[in-house]
Symmetry: C2
Subunit: 821 residues, 2 copies
């Protein structure tokens, strides 16, 4: 069952009912100011840091769910006779249904790229509300167009509404003994300024403004909703009134009241703006105790121009036109194309921007930017905004320790490593190599390796980025366990496989508790990652002229492969790890958790033991033991009991999350492996199972947005097999885009150019791919005769040997014809 | 305007409308299991630690407000014809109005001591629900009695409801990527077991059970409320149905459905129980994967007995009868009596139990037990439960550092000092002396001083409690500033006067940021506290035979008084402090914050500079500059701007909290001072302004409960002068009880007995006081002729000199007649 449909032309998902199985959201903003917005206009805004600079209040896990947002209440009145306003008629309603939940005659929500449109019609009044954050502007704009579609003149009372958060989102809902006394506002004209704590250490404020003439306003929540009131039927709306209330402690909100009459067919328009302003310390005040509003007035003036909103809208269109021109495909399979061309790339950008901080599952207060996460996100993002990728990689590398280890997270505002979480996740260092290699292949920016980068943010201890990569590489070789395999530390990619934790206290964090010395438990995944990263690392060494290091790395890689072959193979699949007692994890001899996906996927990607047929055998075992109709589960069987020696992985109920859920993040590792061993149709089938556009038809079961990946789909061991969770912010987007664009579509950046090896599914006979790469444009036509057959390239009309097309000069266009099979 | 009335006989506040200006709450529980319950049955339960062991979910600052709780939904049906249930009739309603907010024909909430009764009647059905936590039992019981008051047979569909919290209250509303996958329940008969995380590291579970026959149940929130549903009109209630849903991830709840028919005049009864059970590790499971429910079944069996609920109710009555017999007065002023005999003492107990952790303003996740707070709370609590006071004082002293300083807070579960907050609040050590002295005077338990108590919880470093007091005393003398006055450290009693903080970053905590070396800023309050504590300390030293220390302490006190007289007097009042630049704080020469209450109150209590008339002059300045119709503000004028050198005190909007609010906590210091200088009527007038029973008539303005003190009432500098905030958990209760019982009523424990010095207000001509002290009973009759006149005591019929009555032998009764004036 679907709840909407894709519009590939407008690049939107068009939702046709407010009663989606879960709030389906979108993100507004491209730089510092971001908003989350659901299909019923729920959500919130923040500036840069979702915890420390939260602008509006949002209650997670609320009842009724998702009923905090930016809302427009519309209430019809009788036409006035004389000076006073007419009596209210009928029920108040919202264009997005919530929070009044008054039934609408028509409803539509169009989530597009960085913008959302919500249309609601009721009793001859049609409201179209467009939302966006203009590029380069610290404000969310809401444009309301209200049309009288009836044959009679109508009078309407409109209330706008937002609720302010007192900046620090965690403090905002914990520290009431202070916070209920601090709220302050100023009101000037139609602008309601939220200035809580501005009088002390803050130099920023927010405002909510409209270009429309207002009949009144409210800034005190209790005044607006009434005692014991709620957002469903606020007192102000119910009474068609406003009290010009000035918030003073308690909860500052902002609501305008607008009174309009509309002739039949007439449209009226209002723009609302939630803006964020910072002032320098010396210019905080206009006069004593009065906030300096100059910058806010400038912004308000700009959007008082009737064309300004549309101009911002058009600029955003152009922004995405340009970004998405870097990669696109026309394959004849519309779902493949819409994922590849629009939604997967869009999600990669959002994930980069949010860095796991703020979704409808990530509350925005929990964590910093992940070292490992960011390096992976890079892989799906670097072709879109390489300059931002470079900046982020620099920040990430700056939190590395001199020994090559790394803080597991760093804070977005300070860019410093998060000491509370610390380090010792032993896969982290290798992700830096993989991320930097991805960046180099996309950009050819070899100078980046010579850049001076601090260790642990200490400007007195810096080294070249290349030296950072060396430390990364040797952090693995310097931390080997009893089998010559890498010690796992607190965890590797699977944060929940905690082999040194041994926690019995429910108040411990599994990720930060360590009760073992860490000298025994080993990760076969890290060993495979080492082999996966080694060829690129060796090539980098050679190109920088460090042949001694290249030779040492080659030796280290051979030694590591020998160790895996000797101790990492279980007979029919790769082992996952050795625990603190050197017992096997992920072996046929285990009672539960006999087989894990990660080492089958990474082992196949890295072609470990290829001459012995291990990758193919491992992937056959995946198909046999882990595959389901909804994707590949992370392990099987799920752990029935808590295992002290395994940690969080065994803490989840069977079939959920790391205990046997379908982790969409590592399904693509298997897909890539399948392509590498020559089974492209299998790869595609795996992808279809988890790709949201293909799951759209089962939205009732899947529940999450059908336009973005979720982190997890409940596995076969659960009661709710097929139900997705944790949508939007997940490394899933990046790895699926890598699998899809680089291995299935098969256009893959290399150090010297583009490798063109399409392994499209059999049903795609003909495809055209557009790729913008290092300033040149590649127009690639694929004839897909037999998708596991040999590949022949013709470049600008000339046949060429091999599949690597050297980077063309910037500005040029390269025509490529590819014949497969 | 009132919203109810006191019933002094039943010791209840009887609320007659659910539309109170704010939720008016009560506390259930005397030991480990506690519940908060509002007048509309909102609130939550926890076991020992409101953060780490939260049993039910509560959303603070919610909209609609206070709509999470234990709810009973009642919905009438047509009488059934045949086997199937009759159709639903009318609206569903709750006895406590919320969450349906269906208008009731009758409503009443009776908040008593550790128990609450809510009565709602609608359309010929009268529901009486009684709530309590039985003594010694880890469960909240709810007894519903439903009576058909009509003349017709009636059929009703009843839904019970609670929503479980996933144990850790902070994690519960921040970590959704995990928590929405972990929820688990088991259901057996009419018991719904909340077993989330029991399969891993928890050995505790909760359950919600009823003794009634059930027609169905639900344990999944979305099933119960319906998609996009809410607690106002849950789908199950609207449909008169239940789905026997089993929660699996998302949000576990518990709801029973009961179908009853009632003849005219018939009553039916059901008991519901929210229980908490811990199992030993070896007995966690009944069989593989099935939770061991033996203890729960035992508890359920106990309350299946129809008399068990009433027995628990009666036991609680006896418990409070006994406690409140320790002190009572009959004065003829009913407000005075109800505060002194019931509500002030009750609040002292609740404050002791909660230790500032969980109220409708304290979210239960923010903090541990305060060192200073607990020592003050002791003063109002020790006469009720001296054995608990001893235990808590031991815990407090165990977090002291070897140098006499102290952790500012410690954690209730671990009893360890909170390293995140740290120490260096330089008044803390003196509070230990004041608290221990209070305990000694009440109990005569001198052996306590010889008890071996660790420093910083280190069993390898212990000393006698007396030695701890010594370290406390000399922590002051070892930390003196340029004027010979005590260095203030991070803050003294006023946590917001941060003279070494100098913070410009809004993300800093004012309490933990220190940017100065702390070698300059001095506190006159600590100096006065030193003089206040010195006589008791000296006496303790003498009685323990340490005359050398006694002499040293006398010298130190004289030196300190000299320093105050030289540098702590501003001409018309006491200075408050010297800042980091040695500038005066709280001086006529300051632009704002010219005069502070703390040093006037403590200075007068300690009679500092009495021969120069300073106490009287200081209190006259209080009357002139700080007194208002709603109490005495903390300082005046409020700070208009943020002062980097003063910290948080200047961060609040003028008139709120520490920036010019009425801190009910230190008003009693002024009252005690007024008694000491001979102006008892003034003392009483000050008390009346803030005492809740006297403010009952202005509940519309005051807003908080009229039966307990609030921390603050908005001061004259604010827009909402007279509005209270932060009710219940505040040291206010203890200090007011000290002022009232020891100085106004004038029965004051001393080291050797009871001092009897009534300074009752003039309008009280005759009073009888009952006091239980060290096992003996004192029956005190007061003739109050002229309340500032001389006092004459007759003890057991014999006139005696002085006002100190030596402690009588346990079991004896002492008859005292006091003539005043």
């Amino acid at each position: 069952m679907r709840f909407g449909n894709f519009n590939d032309t407008s690049r939107e998902y068009v939702i046709n009912t407010p009663r989606t199985p879960h709030p389906w959201i979108n993100y507004l903003g491209t730089d510092g100011f971001f908003s989350l917005i659901s299909n019923t206009a729920g959500g919130y805004s923040f500036y840069r840091d979702a915890r420390l600079r939260r602008l509006t209040r949002y209650r997670y896990n609320d009842v009724p769910q998702d009923s905090n947002g930016r809302y427009i209440y519309i209430q019809e009145r009788a036409l006035s006779s004389g000076a006073s306003l007419g009596k209210l008629k009928g029920e108040p309603w919202n264009p997005g249904w919530k929070p009044t939940k008054t039934e609408l005659d028509f409803y539509e929500c169009r989530h597009g790229l960085g913008r959302t449109t919500i249309i609601g019609e009721k009793n001859g009044l049609r409201a179209t509300v467009r939302y966006l954050v203009p590029i380069g502007t610290n404000a969310e704009l809401q444009e309301l167009v209200l049309e009288n579609t009836s044959k009679e003149e109508k009078a309407v009372c409109i209330h706008s509404f937002v609720e302010f958060c007192l900046w620090n989102a965690l403090d905002d809902f914990t520290n009431f003994q202070r916070n209920l006394s601090t709220g302050q506002v100023e009101v000037e004209g139609s602008a309601i300024y939220h200035v809580t704590e501005y009088r002390e250490r803050r130099n920023h404020y927010a405002f909510f403004w409209t270009d429309a003439a207002i009949a009144g306003f409210d800034s005190d929540r209790d005044a607006f909703i009434g005692r014991d009131g709620d957002f469903t039927r606020p007192a102000a709306v119910l009474q068609g009134a406003s009290w010009n209330s000035i918030a003073d402690g308690w909860s500052p909100v902002a609501s305008h009241r607008i009174e309009w009459t509309l002739q039949p067919g007439e449209k009226k328009r209002a723009v609302f703006m939630l803006g964020y302003i910072e002032n320098p310390q010396h210019a905080k005040w206009e006069k004593p105790g009065i906030v300096n509003k100059e910058k806010a007035r400038t912004l308000q003036n700009r959007f008082s121009d009737p064309g300004a909103f549309q101009a911002a809208w058009d600029e955003l269109t152009r922004f995405w036109d340009e970004k998405l021109s870097h990669f696109s495909i026309s394959s004849g399979d519309e779902k493949l194309d819409r994922m590849a061309n629009i939604w997967n790339q869009y999600q990669c950008v959002v994930t980069y921007n949010m860095a796991r901080s703020a979704s409808y599952f990530e509350s925005g207060i929990g964590r910093g930017i992940g070292f490992r996460d960011t390096c992976q996100d890079m892989l799906g993002f670097v072709h879109l905004m390489p300059e931002k990728a470079r900046e982020r990689l620099f920040d990430v590398a700056s939190t590395q320790f001199p020994d090559g280890g790394a803080y597991h997270q760093f804070q977005p505002l300070t860019k410093r490593g998060n000491a509370d979480i610390g380090g010792n996740f032993n896969d982290d260092p290798l992700w830096l190599i993989i991320g930097v290699a991805g960046y180099l292949k996309e950009t050819g920016d070899w100078d980046f390796l010579k850049e001076s980068v601090p260790f642990d943010n200490n400007p007195a201890n810096t080294a070249s980025l290349f030296e950072h990569l060396k430390r990364s590489f040797h952090h693995v070789t310097n931390n080997l366990g009893p089998h010559g395999l890498p010690l796992i530390g607190r965890a590797d990619w699977n944060d929940c496989l905690n082999l040194n934790c041994f926690s019995t206290d429910p108040n411990d964090s599994f990720q930060t508790s360590t009760n073992k010395d860490g000298k025994t438990a080993e990760s076969i995944l890290i060993a495979q990652m080492f082999l996966y990263a080694a060829p690129d690392y060796i090539e980098i060494c050679k190109r920088l002229g460090d042949h001694e290091e290249a030779r040492a790395a080659e030796t280290a890689a051979r030694t590591m492969e020998t160790a895996i072959l000797a101790h990492g193979w279980d007979g029919l699949w790769f082992l996952r790890a050795y625990d603190d007692a050197s017992r096997k994890v992920g072996s046929a001899e285990c009672e539960d958790g006999k087989i894990f996906i990660e080492t089958q996927g990474f082992g196949a990607m890295a072609l470990v033991g290829n001459d012995r047929g291990y990758p193919k055998q491992a992937l056959d075992s995946v198909a046999k033991h882990l595959d389901t109709p909804h994707g590949i589960v992370i392990l099987d069987p799920p752990y029935k009991e808590y295992h002290l020696e395994l940690g969080e992985v065994s803490s989840y109920p069977p079939g959920y999350k790391e205990n046997g859920g379908i982790f969409c993040h590592n399904n693509p590792w298997v897909m890539i492996g399948e392509v590498r061993i020559g089974r492209p149709d299998r790869a595609f089938e795996y992808w279809k199972k988890i790709a949201p556009a293909y799951r759209e038809e089962i939205s009732e079961l899947h529940r999450m947005e059908p336009y973005v990946y979720s982190q997890m789909i409940a596995g076969k061991g659960s009661r709710r097999h097929g139900e997705a969770k944790n949508s939007w912010l997940t490394g899933t987007a990046a790895w699926n885009f890598v699998a899809l664009s680089q291995w299935i579509v098969g256009v893959r950046p290399a150090f010297d150019g583009l490798i063109i090896e399409p392994r499209l599914p059999s049903h795609v006979k003909h495809a055209v791919i557009q790729r913008y790469f290092r300033g040149a444009h590649y127009h690639i036509t694929v004839e897909n005769r037999k998708n596991d057959g040999p590949i022949q390239l013709s470049v600008n009309g000339s046949l060429q040997a091999g599949t690597m097309v050297r980077a063309a000069s910037p500005g040029s266009t390269v025509q490529i014809l590819v014949t497969v099979g």
